[in-house]
């Protein structure tokens, strides 16, 4: 392995020295490094299988897999970019894509997509969410999977209680209250109050209010009174129909409560499919989309889109692209999304048999394909986005849950910061 690595370095050095611009591309042997942005027991084995298939089909390219734990992936990318040691290709999501584009680390992929077999095969919705992260509206990540917020619920508990899954938020409050039995350590709902809370909260608020745009001009609609109403409803459930621990819940703690069997409903997204079904079984767990509010409109704040980015520093950009393209090819994209239970970006996968059997994915596709669904993208392109929605707002939301801040005050503060950031963004454009 070491010898091969040294050879690759020597080879690419030689090519650079001889002024060959097509270093490692196409024909020659190449080793590329691939960073998985969510390495772990659930996903690493899937990539290993796909890499095996890729190497079999492309014997001249060797892929080195590096699994990065999801909690540290941003820091890892930031460090690598600052130190000039980026991989050739890496998994990214739109939640931090803008930061990487801002650091000028990625290659635009538009031309490569257009001149290859994936042209016209990518879900337009997902392509759009990726494009939105770039000031130049280019495609810096090849979308592979879409995601949708869902509420996982315990089918068995609902059956026993003779209840149907909620379709409106008021029904959700009703079900959550009815399914709570503190004496038996059972709660109807769980709130994500810790890390990652505000994004989920925004999806809930817009699902309820039916507000169709994130910005009205440059003014954030986050502070819409209907949004505040929903937050009030959810916060009222805290400690009554949810565990007290929820105020600090990050994903890990929240899923521990759900899979530990003390919670009836948990709002997360399709991505937790394997975590929840592995612990509770596919028969016990169902998924519903976020309920609607009084308007009845289906409004979706789309979840971050997963994809693969090719790095500017790559010595083998062609090989790196080839691998990314392979991962989103019909067969690989189908294999991947079937395993993780997410929405395939490759539209050819739509007709695969497994989609019919996977209720959550089928349901999510239904929502996204429904003409009546309104997509309200969050402004992940703002450089301050994560600073505003995470560092500043997550502690503020905890104050709402603890009754120290009113929902409206909380949203007004959040909206004002987003408005300022959006105005700056518009000016720069």
């Amino acid at each position: 392995m070491r010898i091969r690595g040294a050879l690759a370095v020597a080879l690419s050095l030689g090519l650079v020295l001889t002024g060959c611009s097509d270093a490692g591309g196409g024909g020659g042997n190449a080793t590329i490094t691939f960073w998985d942005n969510n390495g772990g027991p659930g996903r690493t084995p899937i990539y290993e299988e796909l890499i095996k298939r890729f190497e079999a089909a492309n014997p001249t390219i060797k892929v080195e897999y590096v699994g990065v734990p999801s909690a540290s992936v941003q820091q890892k990318y930031d460090t690598a970019i600052a130190g000039g040691s980026t991989p050739d290709v890496g998994g990214v999501t739109t939640s931090y894509l803008a930061n990487m584009i801002g650091q000028d680390a990625l290659e635009p992929l538009d031309e490569r997509v257009d001149s290859g077999p994936l042209k016209g095969k990518l879900l337009p919705n997902l392509v759009e969410t990726v494009r939105q992260t770039a000031p130049d509206n280019k495609l810096y990540s090849l979308p592979s999977s879409g995601n949708l917020d869902v509420i996982w619920y315990r089918k068995d508990w609902f059956e026993q209680a003779g209840l149907t899954p909620p379709t409106t938020w008021d029904e959700l409050v009703d079900r959550a209250t009815k399914l709570t039995d503190v004496g038996r350590n059972r709660y109807g709902y769980t709130i994500r109050g810790g890390a990652g809370s505000v994004f989920q909260l925004l999806t809930e608020a817009y699902a309820y209010s039916g507000v169709e745009k994130f910005f009205d001009g440059t003014t954030s609609t986050v502070k819409d009174p209907a949004n505040a109403e929903l937050i009030g409803k959810v916060a009222a459930l805290y400690k009554k129909a949810t565990p007290e621990a929820d105020v600090n819940n990050n994903y890990t703690q929240m899923v521990a409560q759900f899979t530990g069997g003390s919670v009836a409903m948990m709002h997360h997204n399709l991505g937790s499919y394997s975590d929840v079904t592995k612990a509770l079984g596919t028969d016990e767990v169902g998924a519903i989309t976020l309920p609607v509010g009084p308007s009845g409109r289906k409004t979706v704040v789309p979840n971050p889109t997963d994809g693969f980015a090719v790095f500017k520093n790559s010595k083998n950009p062609d090989a790196a692209w080839k691998f990314a393209e392979f991962l989103v090819s019909r067969e690989s994209n189908s294999y991947w999304n079937e395993k993780v239970g997410q929405i395939p970006a490759n539209t050819d996968v739509r007709s695969e048999a497994w989609i019919e059997k996977n209720q959550p994915v089928k349901m999510a596709l239904g929502v996204l394909e429904d003409k009546a669904t309104r997509i309200v993208p969050a402004p992940v392109y703002l450089p301050e986005y994560s600073s505003i929605t995470k560092t500043d707002s997550e502690p503020a939301y905890q104050k709402v849950l603890l009754g120290q801040l009113s929902p409206q005050e909380f949203l007004t503060g959040l909206a004002d910061k987003l408005t300022t950031a959006q105005q700056e963004w518009e000016e720069r454009k």
Binding site: Q74, Q75, D78, I81, A82, A98, N99, G102, Q103, V182, G183, R184, N185, Y187, G193, G194, A195, P243, E244, A245, D246, V247, N248, N250, T252, Q253, A256, Q257, G260, G261, S262, V263, P383, E384, S386, S387, K390, T391, E394, P395, A396, Q398, K399, L401, L402, Q404, R428
Partner: protein, 305 residues
């Protein structure tokens, strides 16, 4: 020569003729630290005077003391997190020292099963931060944790959540950190207890000193330097320790458990505001520097009676 006279003579005359020796001995250490830490520390100082945010490069530039001005007059969270850091360090170091000393004294005795007891007492020290937080997340979780099991046995209420309740989140976090922190003191103080010459105790016993008296007049003075040093090092370490609180509470609820370094991590790493994060780090640096000097002065470190 009585036993007491033979205490280690720290102030013994040093040979001045071979002055190259100490420098030769510390040279490798100086080299390692200079090569690897000088520039990184310097860069933090540098960035504290800059506006620096990789996601907004157009705003980067020299900021003078702006970051510090913002910190001191415009950022209540700085003061709040500093206060919490102080509380955290005092609680951690105080309790770790007390429990560690008590444990060291116990496992320094001779009794049946001592070897096993020692190994078990030390064992949390071997557990990494990632694992410690993982275990305590499960232990405190209302559906997988110990309070759920206790409630099943009729002790306490279901749904008890020590991390979610503002009244209990601090002690709960302290306990989790104590679990892996106490062995540090236990190991160190046990090793130091071993260097107390036995005849000191015997002399004290002859003088009719009781157990408590012997502890105060022999053990404690002997351990003093070790205690001063280990509390200082531990305080610095606990001050900058982020991993446990970050994963266990994320600094919440509502910033209640946000320490200064945790705040730094959120600003510099999560929000990419590296300039301001550096300024916060420099503030921590200065505070630690002055506290350390003060502490060493007040404790008259190295000048035994």
């Amino acid at each position: 020569m009585t036993a007491l006279d033979s205490r280690p003579a720290v102030a013994a005359p040093r040979r001045r003729r071979r002055q190259w020796a100490p420098y030769a001995l510390i040279a490798p250490t100086v080299a390692v630290l200079a090569a690897f830490l000088l520039y990184p520390i310097g860069s933090v100082l540098y960035y504290s005077l800059q506006r620096y945010n990789v996601t907004q490069p157009w705003k980067n530039g020299f900021a003078g003391l702006d970051n510090f001005r913002r910190m001191l007059s415009d950022d209540p969270l700085f003061w709040q997190s500093l206060l919490f850091s102080t509380k955290w360090v005092v609680a951690q170091v105080g309790l770790q020292l007390l429990l560690g000393l008590a444990l060291a004294l116990i496992i320094n005795e001779t009794f049946v099963g001592r070897g096993l007891a020692r190994s078990l007492v030390f064992s949390p020290w071997a557990v990494s931060g990632v694992l410690t937080t993982g275990i305590w997340i499960l232990l405190y979780n209302p559906s997988t944790g110990i309070f759920q099991e206790l409630a099943n046995l009729g002790v306490g209420d279901h749904g008890t959540s020590v991390l979610g309740d503002p009244a209990t989140v601090f002690p709960a976090t302290v306990v989790a950190e104590l679990w892996r922190g106490v062995p540090f003191f236990a190991i160190l103080l046990l090793a130091d207890l071993q260097t107390i010459p036995k005849d000191l105790y015997e002399a004290a016993s002859v003088d009719g000193a009781g157990r408590w008296r012997r502890f105060l007049s022999v053990t404690l003075p002997h351990l003093r330097d070790a205690i001063v040093l280990s509390t200082l090092l531990r305080a610095v370490w606990e001050f900058n320790n982020v991993d446990l609180i970050y994963t266990l509470t994320g600094g919440g609820p509502a910033n209640q458990t946000t320490t200064l370094p945790l705040y730094v991590a959120r600003k510099a790493v999560d929000s990419h505001d590296f300039g301001y994060g550096s300024a916060l780090t420099v503030a921590g640096f200065v505070i630690l520097l002055f506290s350390s000097i003060l502490y060493l002065r007040l404790s008259k470190f190295g000048s035994r009676a």
